[in-house]
């Protein structure tokens, strides 16, 4: 029957089973490919993957003058760009989205512009970023910031319009609130869980924009390294980097979900 509940133990068993099946299939396909071509690196075995894992944590350069491992260099570059870009994009989206939802005279001119601009894929705008901002750190940050800005602003604006009722605002006035207090004490607090959710949903697209930019013009970063390693068919490092990306995504999602539960105990999806 549709949506019939199953016992918890069975649910967890099936969840673990799903991962086990994926890993087993991968190993079988890898073994088959290796039988056909013992030198293949396209689908490396787990043994080769563990070699890739060791490689990324190995110090680079000569033993007498070691440099930080490849992983730390790439991770630091990517995370810094992501934090900068997301910080700027989220901050700007919150301000503009809330103001658009609160004031009709701000909503009227901005809404059509945002609807138009949000339809342009940010990766297609890369040449414009290169030309206008250059190819340094600012470019990566602005690419992420502007990549998420339009859609996130729209979702915050929608949250303000839908979750904050006219009655709630009128009541706040009758309780003596000023306009700033209505924005901070009523609108912001009501939409906070939606803002956190929106950030969670924007991490994926932000990573796509950032990795794409790093692949094109980066000299460090996860995207840059994936591109460089795939060019020399060192897929054991590429797969490890992909797994790291998945772990970053899961960690960010878990952190934001925890943050939402902590800050908004009243919220139920």
């Amino acid at each position: 029957m549709i949506r019939r509940s199953i016992p918890n133990w069975l649910f967890w068993l099936l969840s673990i089973g799903g991962i086990a099946v994926l890993l087993t299939c991968y190993e079988l396909v890898s073994a088959r490919q290796t039988r056909i071509n013992p030198l293949q690196t396209t689908i490396p075995s787990f043994e080769k993957l563990s070699e890739g894992l060791r490689q990324i944590f190995r110090p680079q350069g000569l033993p007498e003058n070691p440099k930080p491992p490849m992983f730390w260099v790439d991770m630091r570059a990517t995370l810094w760009r992501l934090v900068l870009g997301m910080g700027a994009g989220v901050g700007l989206s919150i301000v503009v989205g809330v103001l658009m939802g609160a004031y009709r005279w701000i909503e009227a001119p901005l809404r059509p512009v945002f609807m138009f601009l949000s339809k342009i894929p940010p990766t297609a705008m890369m040449p414009i970023y290169f030309a206008v901002v250059g190819t340094d750190q600012k470019m990566f940050a602005s690419m992420v910031a502007l990549g998420i800005f339009f859609s996130m602003t729209q979702s915050i604006y929608q949250a303000v319009r839908q979750d904050v009722t006219d009655e709630g605002i009128n009541k706040a006035y009758t309780l003596g609130a000023s306009e700033f207090e209505i924005i901070y004490d009523v609108i912001w607090k009501q939409i906070l869980p939606k803002v956190i959710d929106s950030i969670r949903l924007q991490i994926g697209p932000a990573m796509v924009f950032l990795l794409a930019a790093e692949m094109v013009v980066g000299n460090a970063g996860l995207g840059y390294q994936i591109r460089m390693q795939s060019r020399i068919l060192n897929m054991s490092v590429v797969y490890v980097y992909l797994a790291i990306l998945a772990i970053i995504g899961l960690a960010a999602e878990w952190s934001l979900a925890t943050l939402r539960r902590t800050l908004c105990p009243w919220f139920v999806e």
Partner: protein
């Protein structure tokens, strides 16, 4: 607490509250509406509404659907200005929603992110603290908040929700939410509170409980009046239930287009006192069958076209009652 027996029902007890008492406010009236009309395009919704409400009155407003009750309520609240006319609360013109006019909506409109206690003390926080105080004078702010929360707790006890202080709105029943909404509005001590079909979404048991709460408020008004204080609870309540209107209020007004100039817009065609009950009295609606039938005919009967002032006799009856009381 004064009880309401069969004898006192014969004589509307409204005079107990409405005989002028020691007035501490700028105006004698908590609410005054002067020649208010409202037009939507070419459609005239309200036609020359005049109304005065004294502090401590609980006024019920009834009328057919679409007659303009909500329009009038929004005008009093200050969210939709009337086309012409003036509204004053305590002698001060209403220019927009403000802290002197409270509101309780049918669907509660509590803040989801605040507990019952925080919802009730929210207005006190907005009214008595500033943004600067919250961020720069934190010690003073938190001391003030503790004081405000204690007040909120006390008010929640008064409306029977002493054990629900820490609950979020999603954890409360409709009746509980509505009581929190009432406490939220009244803790601000506004000049008047508007109740917009406050019990419309509740089941019968909850509805009764909240009606009792309003009757208790009325009793507190009576005590305040006796002690020479300004009564705290002045209410204008919109309801569809005629029994509820007469049972809870001390004055009923009817808004309708069914009068001799009805095409000019709705007007107040019924304004009379009604009996006052104590929360301890048995709920017996048969005691005011006559007034309910009169109200139904005057306000809801489309075929009964009459002069608009025929049933607008509140002030006349009031002065007669006051004269009688003085003679006695």
């Amino acid at each position: 607490m004064e009880s309401c027996n069969a004898e006192t029902h014969a004589l509307p007890l409204v005079c107990r509250v409405t005989i002028p008492f020691k007035v501490q406010s700028v105006s004698q009236y908590a609410l005054e509406i002067k020649s208010l009309s409202h037009v939507f395009g070419s459609y005239r919704v309200l036609n020359n509404i005049n109304l005065q409400v004294l502090p401590g009155q609980i006024v019920a407003m009834v009328g057919p659907s679409g007659c303009g009750k909500s329009t009038l309520l929004k005008a009093i609240l200050g969210t939709d200005a009337p086309t012409s006319g003036e509204i004053l609360t305590d002698g001060v013109p209403v220019r927009g929603p403000n802290r002197h006019v409270g509101i309780v909506y049918q669907h509660y409109s509590l803040y989801d992110f605040l507990t019952a206690e925080q919802n009730v003390s929210f207005g006190l926080k907005l009214d008595e603290t500033t943004i600067w105080m919250r961020f720069l004078m934190t010690r003073k702010y938190f001391a003030k908040r503790r004081e405000q929360n204690a007040k909120a707790q006390e008010f929640l006890h008064r409306v029977g929700l002493g054990n629900a202080c820490g609950k979020f709105p999603r954890e409360m029943s409709g009746g509980m939410k509505q009581r929190v909404a009432v406490a939220q509005a009244f803790i601000m001590r506004p000049k008047i509170v508007l109740l917009d079909e406050p019990f419309g979404a509740l089941d019968e048991a909850m509805r009764e409980e909240l009606q009792m709460m309003l009757l208790r408020f009325y009793q507190e008004n009576l005590i305040a009046k006796k002690e020479g204080r300004r009564p705290e609870y002045t209410i204008l309540m919109v309801t569809h239930e005629l029994n509820e209107a007469i049972y809870v209020a001390d004055r009923v007004i009817g808004l309708s287009r069914f009068y001799n100039e009805g095409d000019q817009g709705a007007a107040i065609v019924y304004d009379r006192p009604c009996p006052v009950f104590s929360p301890d009295d048995p709920r017996d609606f048969s005691k005011f069958v006559k007034q309910r039938d009169e109200l139904r005919k005057a306000v809801f009967d489309e075929s009964y076209v009459k002069d608009r002032d025929k049933y607008v006799t509140f002030w006349k009856e009031l002065s007669e009652l006051a004269n009688d009381a003085a003679k006695a």
